[in-house]
């Protein structure tokens, strides 16, 4: 009876874990007993685990990780610093919206990674070009979400603060920003995914180091377990970052807990 209670309580993580573990197990078993493994074309979890141990935990990839993180952090910080003010401004001032909207719509709709070769031609191989690419991909979710947040601000609340003597500054800090914050956090989750794409594409196109470069090098040299180890590491990073944002959102916006569906 105890086990049943525990199962009902934690049904979600339990089923999730079971499905993931099942997939890996099936993968391992098929390639061990059913299909002979050709290591040039494919690999299996036990080999990936060894490579992960060696490359990621053992430190061989650390240098590449640091190189990639640096570009990610630069690009991402600039995306925050530019995206939020631009979005808030567009939301609050109609003229700013009308002026900027055509560019944003065009850029957001187009696959910006197509610009990667051009960006590398202009900015050279290295940190700057990669940061620019991350910035370009990550800035839009910040702009659009900040914009949407400001637009959804309740007029009544603006009026309430005005009626108690609030000035323009109070409207920003007591109404507009708090009401926009959850939108920005949601935008951050999207921006993380897009920013990681920026890094990897940048390093695929032209680089001599970095995690994306490592992946393509492992691929070129048929080191498939190492390649998967790096890919899984990226996946884990993305999951940790986006889930971290979810937790942060709950901490920053306790009034939304229980209101918002997942």
């Amino acid at each position: 009876m105890g086990a049943k209670r525990i199962y009902q309580e934690y049904q979600r993580p339990i089923l999730g874990l079971v499905s993931v573990a099942g997939l890996f197990l099936a993968w391992e078993l098929v390639l061990t007993y059913l299909v002979p493994l050709n290591p040039f074309f494919f690999t299996k979890p036990s080999l990936i685990a060894t490579a992960f141990q060696e490359q990621v935990l053992g430190g061989r990839l650390w240098h590449d990780l640091i190189i990639s993180s640096r570009a990610f952090l630069w690009g991402f910080s600039c995306a925050i610093a530019v995206g939020i003010p631009v979005g808030v401004l567009m939301g609050w001032r109609r003229r700013a919206e009308y002026t900027l909207d055509p560019f944003l719509t065009a850029l957001y709709a187009s696959p910006l990674v197509a610009l990667a070769p051009l960006i590398i031609v202009v900015f050279g191989v290295g940190l700057l070009a990669k940061s620019v690419l991350v910035f370009l991909l990550a800035v839009f979710p910040f702009i659009f979400n900040a914009f949407a947040g400001v637009r959804s601000t309740d007029r009544l609340l603006i009026n309430v603060v005005k009626s108690f003597g609030g000035k323009e500054k109070d409207l920003y800090f007591k109404v507009i920003l708090p009401s926009t914050l959850p939108y920005i956090v949601a935008g951050t989750r999207i921006a993380i995914g897009r920013g990681l794409v920026g890094i990897i594409v940048g390093e695929f196109v032209a680089a001599s180091e970095g995690i994306g470069f490592a992946i393509s090098r492992f691929g070129d040299t048929y080191q498939l377990p190492e390649m998967f180890a790096a890919i899984f590491f990226l996946m884990i990073t993305a999951i940790v970052l986006t889930e971290g944002m979810r937790k942060l959102e709950a901490a920053l916006a306790p009034w939304r807990v229980g209101q918002e569906a997942r």
């Binding site: 009544l156 609340l157 009026n159 309430v160 603060v161 005005k162 009626s163 108690f164 003597g165 609030g166 109070d170 007591k174 109404v175 708090p178 009401s179 916006a253 306790p254 009034w255 939304r256 229980g258 209101q259």
Partner: protein, 263 residues
């Protein structure tokens, strides 16, 4: 002598984009003296909230003149506060922080704010809910937070837009009594919008009956019942007589409305 509150020939038309304009106020005249308790009743959608918002300084009339103590109203001011019909609580603030909003904007020190909000939270019966967020409260509780917030800054003029509409009958009776005490003690001027004829008759010095939209004052009924008023008074023949008179006048307007555009 100039009346304390004086609205003369107020006109206001809303012009929403892509929709027909709506004239909410058409030549509205209204006066109130200092310390008076004045109720406004009228068909819903006639322009009562609009009028309170003009008086609060959030809406500008297209034409006409509105004065408080002889000075034209051009914007919000510390001497006026509103209990909003749709509550208007900031969802990211706890009950306590919501009650303190006006004090904060006035620059009152944190310790004083805390003390004042504690008093008011007790007054409206929300002890134990200080740290709750609005989404955790019932409609009636939110309304009481709105009332506490308006009282916190101790305004001379209290504008109340159907402030007790979301309360259950007992809480409503209780809050009415509290309000009369506050009004009597602090000598505030109250403009009180309500749907309840009984409530208007029980609380007010005068009841202003407004026409169907666009709003004008149709007639004013003076309530000559002695004060302090108690609950038993509501059972008297005199009280029922007053209610009947208000109803007679209001009924014609309600008929106009249902015969009209039905909004």
């Amino acid at each position: 002598m100039v009346p304390y509150i004086q609205a003369k020939n107020l006109n206001l038309t809303f012009r929403p984009k892509n929709r027909d304009p709506v004239t909410a106020l058409l030549g509205l005249d209204l006066e109130a003296s200092q310390g008076e308790f004045l109720s406004l009743v009228g068909p819903s959608g006639c322009g009562k909230s609009t009028f309170l918002n003009v008086l609060l300084g959030l809406l500008k009339p297209d034409s006409g003149d509105i004065r408080l103590n002889g000075n034209r109203i051009t914007g919000p001011g510390q001497e006026r506060a509103m209990v909003f019909q749709e509550f208007g609580l900031l969802p990211w603030r706890t009950v306590q922080a919501n009650v303190e909003l006006g004090l904060e904007l006035k620059g009152v020190a944190a310790a004083t704010r805390r003390q004042r909000s504690a008093e008011l939270i007790t007054l409206v019966g929300l002890n134990g809910f200080e740290q709750h967020y609005p989404h955790e409260l019932s409609g009636g509780m939110k309304q009481r937070v709105g009332l506490a917030r308006a009282l916190a800054t101790d305004p001379d003029v209290l504008l109340m837009d159907e402030p007790f509409a979301a309360l259950d009958a007992q809480t409503r009776d209780l809050m009415q009594m509290e309000l009369l005490q506050i009004w009597d003690r602090a000598k505030k001027t109250v403009l009180f919008v309500t749907h309840s004829i009984e409530e208007a008759a029980y609380l007010s010095d005068r009841v202003v009956i407004m026409t169907a939209r666009p709003a004008r004052t149709k007639s004013t009924i003076k309530i000559n019942l002695p004060r302090p008023r108690d609950y038993e008074m509501r059972l008297s023949a005199e009280f029922n007589d007053i209610k009947a008179r208000i109803w007679e006048t209001l009924k014609e307007e309600l008929m106009t409305r249902s015969a009209g555009d039905g909004s």
